[in-house]
């Protein structure tokens, strides 16, 4: 095992870098991080639209969310692979196709987190904010969002973990992330696939498990602080 790690450790971590572009675990992190980063502002807009009373905003946002949550990421990936070159007229690298698919996919899930966060705040807070004369956007800015965003943090961390796991599927279209690298190692080694794939599992397990533990701790802290403050709060249900 030790020689295996010595031989392939960096390969798992960085893909073919520096000979080829960054891949492997680093590729996974980039896909997840950049994907979530870009989808976040989108998600806030869509999440807001989902809390709106106005059907002009609510309906398209709902269609977006329900559709993207209702089909497998694999289908979204294939759609992106086929549709983006058709629409833009340019060929896209597997990496950017995968990134686009992840951004679109995550925007729907993150939007639901935003929506749950906003709606999970006790009604009294919005009422009090409106009662002192604050308008809708003012209430959001000074009262609702500061509290809701803090409440959403554990969910966002969980979503990052989810996204890291979701990126594993893009190896199918040839993106050099962690799972793709493991397949390559398996092709090179031929024997002892147990070792190859257990190492792969570990590379996912360590960060995902670590972040899950962190998120559970944050959730406990927020819950404890809320109890101490005696603020009536509903559990955020997604």
């Amino acid at each position: 095992m030790f020689e295996f790690i010595q031989k392939y450790g960096l390969f798992y971590l960085l893909g073919g870098w520096p000979e080829t572009e960054l891949g492997g675990f680093a590729g996974t992190l980039i896909l997840a991080g950049v994907g979530l980063g870009i989808s976040f502002p989108l998600a806030i807009l869509i999440g807001f639209a989902r809390t709106s009373q106005n059907p002009v905003f609510f309906v398209p946002a709902s269609i977006w969310v329900y559709t993207l949550r209702g089909i497998p990421l694999l289908m979204i990936l294939f759609w992106a692979y086929f549709l983006i070159p058709e629409l833009t007229g340019r060929a896209m690298t597997p990496f950017s196709t995968a990134l686009a698919a992840i951004i679109i996919y995550e925007s729907a899930f993150m939007a639901e987190i935003v929506r749950a966060g906003i709606m999970g705040l006790p009604a009294g807070q919005t009422e009090a904010a409106r009662s002192i004369g604050l308008g809708y956007w003012q209430s959001m800015r000074y009262v609702v969002l500061p509290q809701a965003l803090v409440n959403m943090i554990p969910s966002f961390v969980n979503q990052f973990v989810s996204t890291v796991k979701a990126t594993s599927i893009v190896y199918i279209i040839g993106v050099s992330e962690l799972t793709f690298v493991a397949q390559q190692v398996n092709a090179i080694e031929v024997t002892n696939p147990v070792r190859t794939f257990i190492v792969l599992a570990f590379f996912y397990f360590i960060p995902c498990w670590g972040l899950s533990v962190l998120s559970r701790k944050i959730e406990r802290d927020i819950g404890a602080r809320r109890k101490a403050a005696n603020v009536p709060g509903k559990e955020i249900r997604i």
Binding site: I169, L200, W209, I238
Partner: protein
């Protein structure tokens, strides 16, 4: 980019789609049932007195929740056969056991999530409910059956249905190890007919229909059975 659904008229493609859908549904239902059964066992083992058992269960749960589903499938497909005695391995290499591996992988994966959901559901019932049940003369078992479980089930239905939806979508991952479910068939059709848009469109509609059914079942149960706790 005109649309041309005419390939549907050809029997082989229609059959392929139906076949794919059937495999998807079989995989989904089989995994759900085994996953739920396993989860019931795990949920109970989670809190036994023996630390060794708790540890093993813990590892099982954390592994299946933190490793991507497709990687779990790959582990079963590539790695497990190596660990088996030669006779079994020959049998595996002969038959098409991809479905079996996908089924096992998905069942264990979903069981880890179901186990946590079930456990949270039971823990969410205030202990006072159990005390009240004993106070009116119910035995411990009676208390669980008539007071705790009905409430726990109502609490957990939304999360269970949410995870069910994810399981349904995850069946598409089985194509990675060669299971001819819906996505696999659609890709195949696309390769042959080059009608990517139409093929993907049909798959999307099928997936969406079933997903929306599951989603709305979840919402309906949520509303119908919401138990108010002060």
């Amino acid at each position: 980019m005109g649309m041309d659904f005419s390939f549907l008229a050809q029997e082989e493609f229609l059959l392929a789609l139906v076949d794919g859908l059937l495999v998807t549904c079989k995989l989904f239902l089989a995994s759900w049932v085994c996953g739920f059964a396993t989860a019931l066992v795990m949920a109970n083992l989670r809190d036994v007195r023996f630390a060794a058992v708790r540890f093993v269960v813990s590892v099982f749960l954390e592994y299946h929740r933190n490793v991507p589903t497709v990687v779990q499938m790959l582990v079963w497909y590539f790695a497990m056969p190596e660990l088996l005695p030669d006779s079994l391995r020959l049998w595996i290499n002969r038959g098409n056991t991809e479905f079996l591996f996908a089924w096992v992988a998905l069942s264990l994966n979903v069981s880890a999530y179901f186990a946590e959901d079930i456990r949270s559901g039971i823990r969410a019932i205030p202990a006072t409910q159990f005390e009240a049940a004993r106070a009116i003369g119910l035995s411990a078992l009676g208390g669980v059956i008539y007071v705790i479980l009905p409430q726990a089930v109502r609490l957990t239905i939304p999360t269970i249905l949410n995870r069910t939806l994810i399981l349904f979508k995850d069946t598409s991952l089985a194509m990675a190890i060669g299971v001819s479910e819906l996505t696999y068939q659609v890709r195949n059709i696309e390769n042959i007919t080059f009608r990517a848009f139409e093929a993907y469109f049909i798959a999307t509609v099928i997936y969406l229909t079933i997903s929306l059914l599951i989603m709305f079942a979840g919402a309906w149960f949520s509303r119908r059975f919401t138990v108010a706790y002060r």
